[in-house]
């Protein structure tokens, strides 16, 4: 090649431009993870979303310390202070079945008397205990359902887009048909049918939410793969001689999956909400199991006198709202950060 120095090259600038300092955290995490993490703290909304989720993670992890269970082998059973129907007000003392006193109570309140912080619900279930341990249930169900639906959706969407033709047609018609079903009603019926077969636990509701929840992912992944696979860089890889499977996993999926990933992070809140709706209607777990929907369902008979018993709705309801909001804000922030065009702009 003749001596040909192209213009528009910044090789000369490279020496003179001051290098950005790389901190210890960035070195530890690597540039990519560091950028994603930093992106999480960019806007007030993302900070709030991130803080909310961290807050809930701490509650879920520390549940045995915050509200020690009566029976450590069955911590998800909400302890009952007797069997009276009327809810008891916030701060009323435990009489029967009192679980061990949490360590933080005495230094703050200067008393040995463990009370119902959020009051008790119908049947003397402790609302505070239900809210704290319900956080674990929310994370478990949310994660299981979202990861399962995401994987099913991505596999079906990829197969559909990759093979095209008849396979694509059949799969997408199945998706169409399933999308016509009203989601909550379909999940309700399936969970109700499954419950007597499997027994009362988290499983029927989780299965029902997975069964009717994967179609959105399949649709979006398929569409994104179809548009990505016509891009020039995929053509270039084919010309070079790259195998189809490597093209799919290295060039197509990484570029096509991000809208779906954002959808998934937004969906955790929705799943928990749907799960609570099923529990509220009495589907799924046995009565007295610590999940937010169930705690809310105890308030069903007291709706007309909520001016008196507001605490049996407000505390679990507020928790649920904050949880869903946290995931939504986090999903929004994630969408901004994972967009490759945002790279280098943090």
């Amino acid at each position: 090649m003749t001596t040909h120095t192209p213009t528009g090259d910044n090789s000369l600038l490279g020496e003179t431009v001051a290098m950005r300092k790389i901190g210890r955290l960035e070195r530890f995490l690597g540039p990519e993870n560091y950028r994603v993490l930093m992106g999480m703290f960019k806007t007030p909304a993302s900070i709030m979303g991130f803080s909310l989720i961290v807050f809930f993670v701490i509650i879920a992890l520390a549940a045995p310390v915050i509200a020690p269970p009566l029976n450590p082998n069955d911590p998800y059973k909400i302890p009952r202070d007797g069997f009276k129907a009327d809810p008891q007000p916030m701060g009323s003392p435990w009489n029967r079945n009192q679980p061990p006193l949490p360590f933080w109570w005495k230094p703050i309140m200067k008393t040995d008397q463990w009370v119902h912080i959020f009051g008790t619900s119908q049947g003397q279930y402790d609302v505070f205990y239900g809210v704290i341990w319900g956080t674990r249930t929310a994370f478990t169900t949310g994660m299981i359902v979202v990861i399962s639906t995401f994987l099913i959706g991505v596999v079906i969407g990829s197969v559909s887009a990759y093979y095209g033709g008849v396979v694509d047609n059949i799969l997408m018609r199945i998706v169409d048909i399933m999308l016509t079903l009203p989601f909550l009603l379909a999940a309700l019926i399936l969970a109700a049918v499954l419950t007597p077969k499997i027994g009362r636990s988290l499983v029927p509701s989780i299965l029902a939410l997975i069964t009717f929840g994967w179609m959105g992912y399949a649709r979006i992944v398929r569409g994104d793969i179809l548009s990505t696979k016509e891009r020039d860089y995929v053509m270039a890889a084919r010309v070079i001689g790259v195998k189809d499977s490597r093209i799919l996993f290295r060039h197509i999926l990484p570029n096509a999956i991000f809208p779906t990933l954002v959808l998934a992070s937004l969906a955790i809140g929705d799943v928990v909400l749907s799960f609570a709706a099923l529990s509220f209607l009495g589907i799924g777990t046995e009565i007295g199991y610590a999940d937010w929907g169930q705690v809310l369902s105890f308030a069903r008979n007291w709706i007309i006198s909520l001016n008196q018993y507001w605490y049996i709705v407000v505390w679990p309801g507020l928790t649920l709202v904050l949880f869903v909001m946290g995931w939504n804000l986090l999903g929004d922030a994630l969408r901004d950060v994972l967009d490759p065009r945002m790279r280098g702009k943090t």
């Binding site: 213009t7 528009g8 891009r231 010309v239 001689g241 060039h251 490759p340």
Partner: protein, 329 residues
Amino acid sequence: METNTQNKGETLVEVKNLVKYFPVRAGLLQRVVNQVKAVDDVSFVVKKGETLGLVGESGCGKTTVGRSMLRLIEPTSGSVSFQGKDVLALKGKELKDVRRDMQIIFQDPYASLDPRVPIGESVMEGLHIHRIGTPRERMDIMLETLKKVGLEDYHARRYPHEFSGGQRQRIGIARALALRPSFIICDEPVSALDVSIQSQVLNILKDLQKEFGLTYLFIAHNLSVVEHVSDRVAVMYLGKMVELTTREELYRNPMHPYTQALMSAIPVPNPRLKRQRIVLKGDVPSPLNPPKGCRFHPRCPVAVEKCSQEEPQFLEVSPEHWVACWLAK
């Protein structure tokens, strides 16, 4: 380019009767209701060491010809032979081997690089796929190739979005070059770049051709660019080849009325120069339903009765000058 006289005449690629119809499907059963005749019976040869320009307006099938030759699009019929091998009949290992020798540079530098892969890896991928050398050697080849297109070592770790359009196009050239192919299809490599960068990229292509003895099929719609780079030029209209000759001959003595019209449309820098401009009437007819006879006859200023009846053959009317027109002599 003018210096490649020693190899002239030796055929590297031969395209024969290439046809590509895109089916148009409709209805519930997705039956084929019509066909877009994107490329209809195109034949030409590319000689070793030359640059063959391929020009024509948007939608005339230039890109389809290029992509069919690389099997990025499966042609409906015809044959493409490269160094004596029929590319369209190859499968598996043999196809992979021939891919080392035939590469492509794309039009849009913003779409031709994977945004999630550092450019060094993009350039190296072909070496990895074809198991050329050790990882260390591949890295050296990659860095050397980047240097050839005017990029530095430290650029290799950067992502495509950190580069300008001209730099990206050079990266695209480096990727095509990494496998040291003998034939590169340049699919409008400069039409997305601004003029100052165009000449830069064209000069790189020229230098590389000299250094590696490359053969180019240079697809473009800018006649000035084609004149600058080509040894011979082929003109396409609506899926057909209408004229093919050396650059000097084409620009001095265009025979096909369509080529003449194109030539009269090249802008000249002198605003006072009065020229005879041939302005074509109407639009390009739909390739779904191309006109009978000569495809150009509805717009041709000199069409005669015969043109609408019979299709002219693509004939060598004078040495090295092929034209598909009843009036050409």
